[in-house]
């Protein structure tokens, strides 16, 4: 099977700035549950954006499912969940409306929703435990539940690669643990490749199979258990 994500000798610098990434090599196999962590400004978001083809590396290349990431044309295979603070609208919106929006990439333009699409949406809400609140207004739910609603939105696209960019930032500790347990369950049940990017990886440390620490380059790549004890707080990672 094709490698889900591949970064080869990647270097990237923003205009008139020092390099954010240098000599980055990462291969993510299909079905892996991997966390990318590192201090703020360490380059993990840049790495993610290069991996997704949003940024073009000056050196090296990025591939998604074997294709160059910048010209990858099966983007509906990617589900994406951002920080809670960046989500939501200025309008009232129900959980079902949020989750249904996640079906848009699979529907394409102008194609109406069919029975199968509605079933996928219902299943996505069941998976995150929000079926009973399907018609509730999003703003009436807790922060953790809102994040689950957006998780269901990402799942409604039936992704092969689920990318979570600091998904638990601004969510309380209990909700973070519950969210991590949900991710572990999804990984087990669906076999989807999960790429979890976070400043704080404590909550998922016990679930991820592999941890990649980033600070300008890759400073650690391996099982979380083999991480030196004093490195567990990524803000203290030193090159």
């Amino acid at each position: 099977m094709l490698v889900a994500v591949e970064l080869k000798d990647v270097a990237f610098a923003y205009p008139r700035a020092a390099p954010s990434l240098q000599g980055v090599n990462v291969v993510i196999e299909p079905g892996e549950f991997l966390a990318i962590a590192g201090p703020n400004g360490g380059g993990k978001t840049t790495l993610l954006r290069v991996a997704l083809g949003i940024l073009h590396p000056q050196v090296g290349f990025a591939r998604l499912f074997g294709e160059p990431a910048v010209s990858f044309d099966q983007r509906e295979r990617i589900g994406y969940l951002a920080q809670r603070a960046q989500l939501g609208t200025n309008a009232p919106v129900t959980v079902r409306e949020v989750v249904t929006a996640g079906r848009a990439p699979r529907l394409g333009l102008f194609r109406p929703q069919r029975r199968h699409d509605r079933r996928v949406v219902e299943r996505a809400m069941e998976r995150v435990g929000l079926s009973d609140q399907a018609d509730a207004e999003l703003s009436t739910l807790s922060g953790g539940q809102q994040q689950r609603a957006f998780m269901a939105k990402a799942l409604a696209g039936e992704p092969d690669l689920l990318v979570l960019d600091e998904p638990t930032a601004g969510v309380d500790a209990d909700a973070q643990e519950s969210f991590a347990a949900l991710l572990a369950e999804l990984h087990h049940d669906l076999g989807v490749t999960i790429l979890f990017v976070s400043h704080e990886f404590g909550a998922v440390e016990q679930f991820v199979e592999r941890l990649v620490l980033v600070r300008g380059g890759i400073t650690f790549d391996g099982k979380p258990k083999s991480l030196p004890p004093h490195w567990h707080d990524p803000s203290h990672v030193h090159l």
Binding site: Y80, Q86, E97, L109
Partner: protein, 269 residues
Amino acid sequence: MSIFDADFMRLAFATGAVVGMLAPLVGFFLVQRGMSLIGDGIGHVAFAGVAFGYLLGISPVATALVASVVGAVTIEVLRSRHRAAGDQALALVFYTGIAAGVVIVSAAGALNANLFAFLFGSILTVTRSDLVLVVVLGIIGLGLIAGLYRPLVAIALDEEAARVSGVPVAALNVLLAGLAGVTVALSMRIVGILLIAALMVLPVIAANRVARSMRSTITLSVALGLVSVFTGLTLAYYADLAAGGAIVLTAAGFFVLASAVASVRSALT
């Protein structure tokens, strides 16, 4: 004598029916993207278009339509390519549009009552050819938004996720800006260039106060837009008022009413 006995009122109501639906519908997606004021900027570019029409002696609606769409797409392109922040892009187009309008109007010697009808709306100025243009472009606009509803909602909820998952965000944002330009040009006859942005925004923020879902917000926005236009036109006819002002004040009244309903509902729960 019935209000509909007059030919100009039948034309104004028919035009108003399309504008009353299209403006809040396009406005809904602009409000979600934090671009409530783009209609104002486009309106000022439309003013330059109207002035250009007078200068060349051709239909001011046609020249305003071209100017509005070009202005709207320029704002979106500047914003999306980060050449300028959203408000800076708007300011650039806004001021350039009004300055160009003033210069061209003075060159054309067109500072007269007809021009004021474009600025503030009039029930007397809608022509049959205006109505045909409004109906044809209005139906295209409504059809595009209905057909592209789901990807537009996906962008409104999370633009980055939509982009990563392959929704053509840049193209749809340009299309939405273009539709905003079309809406401004189509609406200027009855609402007026200086007030059209209000019809794109006020019904939406009024509906936001009381609706419980995105679908009901859109439905209520369109209903409030239609009722505002019909009420405003009726007031303009019987009280001899500027149509645009009467329409927008009605919409503002709905916002006050919706806020009161929301406050009462919140106090009761």
